[in-house]
Subunit: 343 residues, 2 copies
Amino acid sequence: MPELRHDPVQKRWVIIATERARRPQDFVFSQPMDNGHDCPFCAGNEDATPPELCRINYPDGTWKARCIPNKFPALRVEGELERAAVGQYDRMNGIGAHEVIVESPDHNKDLPDLGVEEIAAVLRIYRERLIDLSRDIRLKYILIFRNHGARAGASLAHPHSQLIATPITPRTVALELESARQHYQVKERCIFCDIIAQEMQEHRRLVLVDHDFVTWCPYASRFPFEMMLAPRRHNHDFSALTDADLLKLAGHLRNVLRRMKASLEDPAYNFLIHTAPAYHMQNQRSGWGSTITLDWHWHIEILPKLSNAAGFEWGTGFYINPTPPEDAAAFLREVCLDERAQC
Amino acid sequence: MPELRHDPVQKRWVIIATERARRPQDFVFSQPMDNGHDCPFCAGNEDATPPELCRINYPDGTWKARCIPNKFPALRVEGELERAAVGQYDRMNGIGAHEVIVESPDHNKDLPDLGVEEIAAVLRIYRERLIDLSRDIRLKYILIFRNHGARAGASLAHPHSQLIATPITPRTVALELESARQHYQVKERCIFCDIIAQEMQEHRRLVLVDHDFVTWCPYASRFPFEMMLAPRRHNHDFSALTDADLLKLAGHLRNVLRRMKASLEDPAYNFLIHTAPAYHMQNQRSGWGSTITLDWHWHIEILPKLSNAAGFEWGTGFYINPTPPEDAAAFLREVCLDERAQC
């Protein structure tokens, strides 16, 4: 059973994933990316994965996208949450969920290479898993994320996203929730709505704007070409999006990812969705109120991995970004995508 | 002039390093490590660097180690600190210091390949720069760190460490200082002394112990083979170490780094020193008291880069560590170093 351990100085939790334990010797050789032979995520190899949690099919009955439990989970869904002190340290057993969303039956198609309808199917699976897992009151937060490329931590090349649900609210999310709550308390406005208004007005950090969504390079970007995608109208909950909303989001996300892929030679990147915590959805079902509906605004962070975090970043929490977000946004804005007649 | 920018949601500062700006096009090709031709850090090429800040010589008058300003500084030492609002965002101009400690005239000797006396010379330069820069009251914190290998963010192969002094206390340091302060307030004991006592008693996470220093794999290690090195006796201030202390520390650090290098095939890694903040040293000179002398304990974090942080880590601040620190410590403890007769 994996273990959650708490550091008393840095006040953060770590998952010690004994189930996927790598012996020290394993580190001497770096892990190669798979080349497509015997890929467990490819069409025809469905038996190689644990039983499917959900899928979305093409009209011919073959699958477009599917969700499966991770075969080597960082957290496990079975059992009661147990907490204990270990001297002055703290531990919990590793209760949670770890799932994989296989985005396409085709090994060689990356997410932005898929059609808008196909990307929308992936987003519908995200929504379905968020709704389903938020019923489990042991889970406090559900993070959906995507690692593309070895530098971004991907260990399998077949296009996929992941979901990890944790029994505590992660520090990064708690900090963002608290900033949003404090801002609302003082101003009675959503901090993200305020940021979007300033970005729309200043314009120079915008990458893509359409009727429903906006993507920009944040004012204090940590990484070159870092982007933030959010709905233009206030909305705290990704899981409340309709099929029509998800189709529009798929088009916007596809456009942004294609810009990045075309202009930066298919860089490694992570994206992650910050939506309302599972405990909020649980409270809502119980009829409890919460300011999260007013002060929180779901968003997607897109983090290209063009440089490596170094000693300074690890030692301070500061980042050094060699590319001003204004330059990065101008560069991405001006990318000429094939599907557009003019640039 | 570089700029410090603050993110209002994630409450962190970023250095937008316009002086070392890389145009978007620069990212398309990855930066190669230099191969030793025309290396500005090699003996004989001293003219290629900015004027030296300090050096330590061999008896024959040639240099053993030297410190120079970074030619492409992330922060600049000239000017007044200016603060401004940018709409709802915050910025400062990038006042600070960014220096390079060249650890050896020899391009191909890495830090653990040097002799104990030579490593001690590097540590004496660390101490000298900490003392000198802490006199500048614009500076709040001075971080000394080392990046080894491209995966750990090193862009030059010649062995060197760096120093960055910031005009604000970095978030990570502020959090650690606050944890230590709170612990002392309740218990009247140093949190690091408590941790060292538990580690010495449990033994299974220890890597190396001698009369003065101890290195262990932290209970909640973020990364495989992460290590923490600290003095066994309470001491808040690295810059107060004597030459004799630094010689002992050099021997201990050399042993630990050689273990890592020998057993993990020279992995990329970062190490960083967390010592008392510059503002504390400034207060002491002014005769002001502070609990930092009682509640803070300097330490060195050693972070091998065997895996990449991925979307989950960026989205949560949680880490998934596939190697329990107990296994990592046992592995490192049992490494047979050439200089030891028995293992």
